[in-house]
Amino acid sequence: MSQHILRRCVQAVPVLLGVTLVTYLLIFAVAVDPARLALGIRADAEIAQTFRHEWGLDRPWYVQYGRFLFRALQGDLGRSLATNEEVLPAILRRFPATVKLGVTALFLAVALGVPVGAASAVRQNSALDHVTMASALLGISTPTFFLGILLAWTFGYLLGWTPISGYATGAAGMKYLLLPAVALGLGPLAVIARLMRSSMLEVMRQEYLVTARAKGLSELGVVMKHALRNAVIPVITTISGSLAAVLSGTFFVEYIFNWPGIGLLAVDAIASYDVTMIQGTVMFAAIIFVLTNICVDVIYALIDPRISYR
């Protein structure tokens, strides 16, 4: 088991390096001259060249990448071009809000998606099944940003049930959390519900359930004790995809609901072309994604011991 964890961690290292390299190259390729940015667009060419030399900006890209990586490993991701604040502390300050939103969204997706999908499977081809699966298809097809706008408009503006935007901590913060979490979680909920349904349908056909029923176990018992547990395993593998959807969706949802997380930070940075901040946020999000996937893999291996022997 621990060998499996170790192996996954080791495999992640070249991927993480690749992530930093790709991010660096993409931002490096941006046609923005840091010298001109710092000194002003009309700066003297010679002064600009001196500036570049002093900051090592005239060295080859791989040298600059090496220095960037070295600094990054020490927690220095540079300074925001817009506000001059240090990038990593700025990200870390906003990160908890994103985690709160993302975790709530994922929790909603799993807590509702699993039972809805299971119920659809148990009542296959009933009205409930058709309605929930049609809704799920709609949920998958509606872009997160449109869903966010619709929810804000319907429940926030038209009905006035929740505030349209804002943030607060503690119990008072729940009313601000609800709409963005639903907007973010509905897509993954739909995916999980559909997958749970097909997984349950497959499991319920299995022989050991026939045996359980023959032994006299009630249908509810069959579902709860045997089917559900096994059907849920494939759903766990989609958590990674749901996580990606949540990380991406967070950009839009935080922007629409003015939620002060790293998504809003990134969108603001995009608007002001704050290259270092964007680079930092993208890389940070990707690294978190890789690390979280390792955790999901480990949990999956714990639940299904066959995995770690492969």
């Binding site: 992530v19 298809l137 940003f145 408009w153 349904r197 097909s198 950009f251 995009i270 990707a286 994604f289």
Partner: protein
């Protein structure tokens, strides 16, 4: 060297016959066809010019004259949505075409030659996979500058991974089959074997991935434009219309709702058709119902 087994005229006829029985897939296909017709014949179908401003008619709700209302410059929303379908289709077609080319090539060499080549390609796949798609698309867009050509490239650079994985996986299986080994024994070069024998058999799942990727491409373009990184005004794109509409959604709901619905319906159509195609072509690919 003999023909690869299986992919004859009768095969695609059978595919079509089975697809016809899937009502959801047919509905998806009719949505796709409707969008294509709308895009190709936009000049005929659209009641007004999409960019001409008529400021006296600005921000009007849906009416007999403007079925879906007007925007802040008095431009007819229905016409802009019709013309916007061109952007969405172009993004889907071009980005998925690039993605198929890159993904098939890399997946094929990785699956066929294995060893170091496979290691490098798998590393590349894992690195791209490590980025939540939108973040990668944003980073690429920033590197290349906003605009429609960037959108094509950015979306393709994310989509190719799905194609490459499928092709690589398929080739692992096909590589050891007898007719391929026979071709190798007869002295065929790697490239020729891949192109003549292996690729025709992997195209079916690639088509499925591409049609589902089409939906993703439409959403990606809309998302980029929504953030201001994609199609620039005054060009009509569903995403940029949604971006403007969002600013007005408390006073002029139609400016956001209709472009959003257009995106949703288009995505629904491609998803339904892609699902149906997958069920017919290769049910093993099915992950969910």
């Amino acid at each position: 060297m003999g023909e690869a087994p299986g992919r004859s005229e009768g095969y695609w006829a059978e595919v079509w016959r089975r697809l016809r029985r899937d009502r959801r897939a047919l509905f998806g296909l009719s949505v796709i066809i409707a969008i294509m017709v709308m895009a190709v014949f936009a000049g005929v179908v659209a009641p007004y010019d999409p960019v001409t401003q008529v400021l006296e008619e600005a921000i009007e709700p849906p009416s007999r004259h403007h079925l879906l209302g007007t925007d802040r410059f008095g431009r007819d929303l229905l016409s802009r949505i019709i013309y916007g379908s061109r952007v969405s289709l172009k993004v889907g077609l071009i980005s998925q075409s690039i993605s198929i080319i890159i993904g098939t090539f890399l997946g094929a060499v990785a699956g066929y030659y294995r060893g170091r080549t496979d290691d490098v390609v798998m590393w590349l796949i894992n690195v791209v996979w490590a980025f939540p798609a939108l973040l990668f698309v944003i980073a690429v867009t920033l590197a290349l500058g906003p605009g429609i050509n960037t959108v094509y490239v950015a979306v393709a650079l994310v989509s190719w991974v799905g194609v490459a994985r499928i092709v690589r996986g398929q080739i692992f299986g096909i590589r050891e089959l007898e007719y391929v080994q026979a071709a190798r024994a007869l002295g065929g070069s790697g490239a020729r074997i891949i192109v003549q024998h292996i690729l025709p058999n992997v195209m079916a799942p690639v088509i499925v991935v591409a049609s589902l990727g089409f939906a993703g491409a439409i959403v990606a373009e809309a998302g980029l434009s929504f953030l201001g990184l994609g199609i620039q005004p005054p060009a009509a794109s569903w995403g940029s219309m949604l971006r403007t509409g969002y600013a007005y959604f408390t006073s002029a709901w139609w400016m956001a709702v209709f472009p959003g619905l257009a995106i949703t319906i288009a995505v629904l159509g491609f998803n339904l058709f892609g699902d149906g195609l997958r069920d017919v072509l290769d049910p093993r690919l099915r992950v969910e119902w």
